[in-house]
Symmetry: D3
Subunit: 135 residues, 6 copies
C-alpha cells in the first residue's frame, strides 16, 4: 500500500456567515472572517490516494490522470470563484476550510480510478490547515 499525493492550488473569495445568526452574531463569532465585503485566500489542496502499485506501470495511479480529475471536479468550481455564491458543491455550507475539505472529499471519492481516496488536506494560510479522511 503506497500513499500517492497530488498538490494543486486555487484562489477564491469567501466570508464566514451563518444565515441563522444575526449580523451581530456573525460578526461576534467569525470576526473579520465575516466581513460582508468578502476576503480571500490562496488555498493549497493535497489529495492522497492509497493503493497497491500496478507492476506494469510502477504507479498506484497515473498522477496526470488524478490531476485532470481534481481540475475537473474541484479546481474549475473554486478557482477565482466566490465560495459562498458560485460553488455548487458548497451550497448550504458555511465555507470554512473544514467544510471545504469535506466537500472536496465528497466531490472526489467516487472519481478515483485506481486505489482509494485516503485523505484531503486544505492549507488556508501558512498557519492553518485541515485534513479529512472520510471517517
Amino acid at each position: 500500500m503506497v500513499y500517492a499525493t497530488r498538490r494543486e492550488t486555487f484562489s477564491a473569495a469567501h466570508r464566514l456567515y451563518n444565515p441563522k445568526f444575526t449580523d451581530e452574531e456573525n460578526a461576534r463569532i467569525f470576526g473579520k472572517c465575516s466581513n460582508p465585503n468578502w476576503h480571500g485566500h490562496n488555498y493549497t489542496l493535497e489529495v492522497v490516494v492509497a493503493g497497491e502499485i500496478d507492476p506494469e506501470t510502477g504507479y498506484v495511479l497515473d498522477l496526470k490522470e488524478l490531476k485532470g480529475i481534481i481540475i475537473e471536479y474541484v479546481i474549475k468550481h473554486v478557482d477565482h470563484k466566490n465560495l459562498n455564491t458560485e460553488t455548487e458543491f458548497m451550497k448550504g455550507l458555511i465555507p470554512t476550510a473544514e467544510n471545504i475539505t469535506i466537500a472536496i472529499w465528497n466531490q472526489l471519492v467516487n472519481k478515483i480510478p485506481k486505489g482509494k481516496l485516503f485523505s484531503v488536506k486544505i492549507f488556508e494560510t501558512e498557519n492553518n490547515y485541515f485534513e479529512y479522511k472520510g471517517e
Copy 2:
C-alpha cells in the same frame, strides 16, 4: 549600509476591473481575475529598509517598531478587506499586485523612523511576485 527586511502577510478579496472598459472588455483583458463575484489571495508583503547600523543598538531600525508601522499603515487597511471597495489607499486604482506594491510604498515612504524605504515586494501567488523601489 544594511538592508533590513520585514515580512508580513494578509488575506484580501479583489477583482481586476477598469470602469472605462465594458464588461466584455474587462472579461477579455483580465480573464477569470475579473470575476464580478470576487476572488482573493493570501498576499505576502516584504518591506526593505536601507540604512547604517546604529552602534548603540546594532540595529538599522527596530524591526518590532517597523512591524507596528506596517500593521498601522498597511495591514489594518487590507487584511480581510475588499481591495476594490474598502481600502482607502487603493481608491481609483485597479487592484493589480503592481498597483498594490506602489500604493503600499506610498503609505510607508514617509513613516520609516530610521534609514530609508528601499523596496516593497508583494507575492500574490507562489508563481507571481512584484517589487517597487520608488524609481
Copy 3:
C-alpha cells in the same frame, strides 16, 4: 472527524545535557548539541485537534481560540527562553525535541475546548522533526 492544525513558532536556547553523565560523557553522546555555552533554534510547532464539525459555525474549534491557548500554555513559556533553566514544564527533562514534543502535549491535552488533541509536532531544523500522538 476533521483534523485542524495550527502552526506557531518560537525561538529558544538549550543544550543537551544529562546531569547523571560526566562532562566527557555528555560531550561524547550529545556532541556539539551539548555545548555548555548554549545554542538555539527557531522551533516550529504544529498542534492538531481532531473533532466533529459544529454545524452552527463550520468549525471543529475556533483556531483563534486555539492560538490563544497555545500562546498562554506554551509559547509564553518557551519563546526567547532557555529551555534548560527557565521553562517550568521542561524541568527535569533533557530538552531534546522529543521531550519538548511530549511536554507540550501534556501542557495542552486538557486545555482543548472542543474536539481532542490528536498530535503535536516540533520541527527543530529543516531536516529534523518529531511528532507525538499521546500513545
Copy 4:
C-alpha cells in the same frame, strides 16, 4: 511513542520504461517521463522512525546516527546516479517514485538501531509525493 523524522535530499536521473512494452506503448503510458535520453529530479526523502524515548538521552534514536545510515544505505546509491542503470537496489523495477519509496524502505528496515522504521516519504516534485509504511 514518538515519531522522529530525518530529511535528506538527492539528485538523480531516470526514465519510466517497462521493457515488456514496445517503445510506442512506453511513450503512450509514461509520456514525457519515458524520454529515452533521460530526465531527472531533486528528490527529498523523509525517513520516520517510531519508538520510545530513551530516558538517558531524551532521544528515540540519535538522528546523526540515522543520517549516517541513510547516507550509507540510500544516498550513496542514488545521489548523482542514474536510477535505471546504476542503482543496484532498483534493479528490475520501473523507477517511479512509488517503487523508489518501497525500495528505500527495504534498504532501511533492518538497519534502524533503535525503534522501528515507520514511514518512508519521497517528494519527486513540489506537487507529487509518496509514502510507504510497510503495510
Copy 5:
C-alpha cells in the same frame, strides 16, 4: 518602474562535461556532477521583467502572456529533456546552472512584449542558485 516576476519549474537530466578535457580531468574538476550516466534536477526558473505600469490595465505586462512566452521559448526545450544532447539553445555549452541562466536570458530577451527583461534566476538545488542580468 515595477519588477514583475514569474516563476516556472522544469525537470531535466544533465552532466557537467567539457569535451576538451580527458575523462579523468572531467571527473576531477566536476566530481559526481560529471557522472557519464547522467543525473538530474528539478530546476526553478524566475523571470523578472521591469517596466512602467500601463494605467489601462494596472499591469507591467500580462503575466499569463509572459508565462506563455516562457513555456514556448524555454520550458518546451528543457522540461523532461537531456540538457547536453536535446536542448538546441544549450548546444556547445557545458550545462552548468550559470550557462543555463545566460542561455535562457538569450532565449527571452527579444520576446518580452512590454517592459524589459531584467533578470533570469535558476535555482538548481535548495542550496545553489544563480542570477544573470544581461550585464
Copy 6:
C-alpha cells in the same frame, strides 16, 4: 556577470546586550531579545559571488569550493555556538543579525577564489532578514 549563491544554515545562541547600557535600558531597548539566560535561532546564510563564467568549466566558481570556505571561515565559528561569548569574529559587537551579516562579509571578502563577494544575507526568522553588499 553571473551572481552565484550558496545557502548554508547554522544554529546558535545569543542575546542582544550593550554593556554601556544598564540592565533596565537593555531590557527596555531589546525586550525579550535581551533575556540574560539566552535564546537562539536557526540562521540561514546566503553568500552571493559575482563574476564572469570561466569557459573551461562553465562555473563562476566551484560552489563546492565556496561551501568549504564558508564552513571554514564562518560555520565552524558560529554553528552550535554562543555568538556573544564564543565567536571570535563577533567580539565587541552586539550580535544583531545586522552585525552578524557584516561580520560574515568581513570573514569572507578576501577568501573568494574567483569573482567577487557581492552580498551576504542572513535570515534570522521567517519574518526578518538582512543583506549587506559591502557599501
